[in-house]
C-alpha cells in the first residue's frame, strides 16, 4: 500500500537531506531572486486603486500580504484561521464595490473553502482575487500542505480564471492584469525570495495568453508555473546534446489559450511534452490534450506531472527528483521518449 521509503536502519548513513522549511524558497542556489513580488506588486497597484483591499486567514507573512498590510493597514483585514469566513467576507466586500485579494495556502482554498468560493464568489462572478501559496509540490510537509489537486478543483468551477505564474516577473505582470479583469481569479503564488527567470526572454504576462519563450525543432514543451522554469533549464541542457526544444509558457490555465497552442502544435512535427507542477489528473496536461483532440490534432504527447498519489514528505530536491519534475529527470525522460519508436 505505502510507497514510503523504508525506515532508517542503524547502519544507514546518518546524514540525509533535511526537509526544507515549509515555505522554503524554490530558488536554486545562486539563482537570481526578487523578494515578495506579489506583496510589492500589490502595494504599487493599490496606490492608484483605492478599491483594493487585502484579506488573509492567518497567513499574511506566508503569502507576502504582510507587505500590503504594512503599507495600507486600514485596507487590510486579518480574518483569523477561518478560511470559510475569509472567502465569504471577500465576497461581501466585493458586493460592496471593493476588490479583495484574499490569501491563504492553496490546499486550504481548494479543499477547505471550496463551497464558499463556488457559491459566494464564482457563481456570482465577483471580482475576488484568490492568491494562494504552496502550489503543487513546493513544500516538503506532505499532503496536508501540498496542493497537487488545486488546478483540477478550480478548473471545474465555472467563471474561475486560473493563473500559474513561473517567476517574479510573471507575478509582477499578473497582479495588475488580474486586477483589470472583472471576474474571480485563482493565482498560484510563489512567495518569499522568488526566482527571476523570464528576464532572459522577451516576455510580458498577458492574461489568457500563452507565450513562446524559445523555439526548437525536436520537442515542444507546453508548461506553466515552476515547471516552465524547469523546462527552460532542461532545454538549455538538451541543446548541448543536440536536442532542440521549444518552450511555450501558458501561465493562464483557464481559459486556456487554445489558439496559440494549436498554432504552435501545427508549426512543426515535434514531440509535445506538457509539464506542470500538479497531479497528472485534471491539470494543464489534460486541458491541452482535450484542446488538441477536440480540434482534430493528435501529436505524440507526453506528460511531466506529479503522480495521482498523496506525495511523500522530505526535502524538495529529493521529492522533485523522485516524482520526475527536476531538471535532470526531465532531460532524462525527454531523451527516453525521443528514443521510443
Amino acid at each position: 500500500m505505502s510507497t514510503k521509503p523504508t525506515p532508517v536502519t542503524a547502519d544507514a548513513p546518518k546524514k540525509r537531506l533535511t526537509t526544507s522549511a515549509m515555505i522554503a524558497s524554490i530558488a536554486a542556489e545562486g539563482q537570481a531572486t526578487r523578494p515578495a513580488p506579489f506583496g510589492h506588486g500589490l502595494v504599487k497597484l493599490a496606490e492608484s486603486r483605492p478599491d483594493i483591499v487585502g484579506l488573509t486567514a492567518d497567513l499574511g507573512k506566508y503569502t507576502d500580504l504582510h507587505i500590503f498590510a504594512k503599507a495600507y493597514p486600514d485596507r487590510f483585514y486579518q480574518m483569523g484561521m477561518a478560511e470559510q469566513l475569509l472567502m465569504s467576507t471577500a465576497a461581501g466586500l466585493a458586493r460592496e464595490g471593493f476588490m479583495p485579494f484574499a490569501t491563504t495556502y492553496a490546499v486550504f482554498a481548494a479543499r477547505r473553502a471550496y463551497d464558499f468560493i463556488a457559491m459566494a464568489i464564482a457563481e456570482e462572478n465577483l471580482p475576488v482575487k484568490i492568491v494562494c501559496a504552496l502550489p503543487g509540490l513546493t513544500t516538503g510537509y506532505g499532503p496536508s500542505h501540498q496542493a497537487t489537486d488545486d488546478i483540477a478543483i478550480f478548473r471545474a468551477m465555472p467563471n474561475m480564471t486560473i493563473i500559474d505564474p513561473c517567476d517574479a516577473i510573471d507575478i509582477e505582470g499578473a497582479v495588475p492584469a488580474i486586477a483589470e479583469y472583472p471576474g474571480p481569479v485563482y493565482l498560484r503564488l510563489l512567495r518569499g525570495q522568488v526566482p527571476v527567470v523570464l528576464d532572459e526572454y522577451d516576455y510580458q504576462f498577458e492574461l489568457g495568453k500563452a507565450k513562446r519563450l524559445r523555439d526548437g525543432a525536436d520537442v515542444l514543451f507546453i508548461s506553466s508555473g515552476i515547471l516552465t522554469m524547469r523546462v527552460l533549464e532542461a532545454a538549455k541542457r538538451l541543446d548541448k546534446d543536440g536536442i532542440s526544444c521549444a518552450v511555450l509558457h501558458s501561465p493562464t490555465i483557464k481559459p486556456l489559450d487554445v489558439e496559440t497552442i494549436l498554432a504552435e502544435a501545427d508549426r512543426m512535427d515535434r514531440l509535445l511534452i506538457v509539464a506542470e507542477n500538479h497531479s497528472e489528473i485534471g491539470g494543464l496536461g489534460e486541458a491541452v490534450a482535450l484542446a488538441l483532440l477536440k480540434n482534430g490534432r493528435a501529436p505524440r504527447l507526453r506528460h511531466v506531472a506529479l503522480p495521482d498519489a498523496f506525495l511523500d514528505a522530505g526535502a524538495l530536491p529529493t521529492l522533485h527528483d523522485r516524482y520526475g519534475i527536476s531538471v535532470e529527470r526531465i532531460c532524462e525522460r525527454t531523451k527516453g521518449w525521443l528514443n521510443e519508436d
Partner: protein, 284 residues
Amino acid sequence: MTPTPDTALKANMSLADRAYRIRRNAVLMGEVQGQGYVGQALGIADVLAVSYFHAMRYRADDPHWEGRDRFLLSIGHYAIALYAALIEAGIVPEDELETYGCDDSRLPMSGMASYTPGMEITGGSLGHGLGIAVGMALGLKRKQSDRFIFNLMSDGELGEGSTWEAAMGAAHHRLGNLINLVDFNNQQADGPSREMLSSEPVTDKFSAFGWHVQRVDGNDIDAVRNAFDIAMAIEDDRPRAIIFDTRMGSGVPFLESREVTHFIRVEPHEWTLALDALEAGRPT
C-alpha cells in the same frame, strides 16, 4: 418615489396586515407549484413584515440603491417567503407571483441574486449568509455608511461551522451594523433541530461570542417590532442577534396543527382552505 394613492393607502396598513398579505402571497405561490416551503414562509412572515415595513430603508423602484439597508437570505429555500415580501414591498411586481418556480421565472425555487430584484445573495448552500454579511458590513463601514446588514438564517444553519467563524469575525471586527435574524422553528430536513444537532442554549452562545442577543416569539408581531427597535438602537458596536421562535404554518391553523415537518404537505384542495383560514384570521 412620490407615493401613489395606492402606496399611500398601503402606508397606513398595520404590520399585522402586511404579515397577512405576505402570508397570502406565499400561499398563492405555493398553489402555483403545488408545493414549496410554505410552512416556513408562514412562520417567518411576521419577521419579514417588520423588516420591510418597519425597519428597513429601501427604494422599491431601485433595488440597488446605495442607501438601502441590505437584507440577505442565507436560507435559499425560504425564497418563497422573501418573494412574498418583495411583492408586498413593490420590489417584484405582483403579477410575477404566478410564475413562481416556473421555467424562465425571476422567482426560482431557491433564492439566487442574479435572478430576482431585491435578492442580495445566492443562498441555499447553508451557512453562507452570515460570512457574506460580515464582508458587506465591513464594506459599509469602509464607505462610512450608517446602513444595516440584516441576515436571515435558520436554526439548522447553526450547525454549520462557518456560522460560528462568522459569529467570531463579526464580534472581532465590531460590526454593530450587522443584525442576524435566526428563525428558530426547530425543524430541519430529518426532524426537530434540537434532536439533530442541538444549538441550545443559543442565546448564551451568541452572547459568549460577543453579540447582543434577544430571543422573542417570532409570531408576536409587537414583540418582533420591539426586538428590531432595540437591535437598531443600542449604542455599542456589538453585532446583534435576534432569535425568533416561530411556528411553521403560522396563520393557517390546520397547517399549524398538522404533524410538523420540514416540508409541510398541502393537498391540492387545501390551498383554497389555507387562503380562507388566513382571511378568517386577518387582523381587523
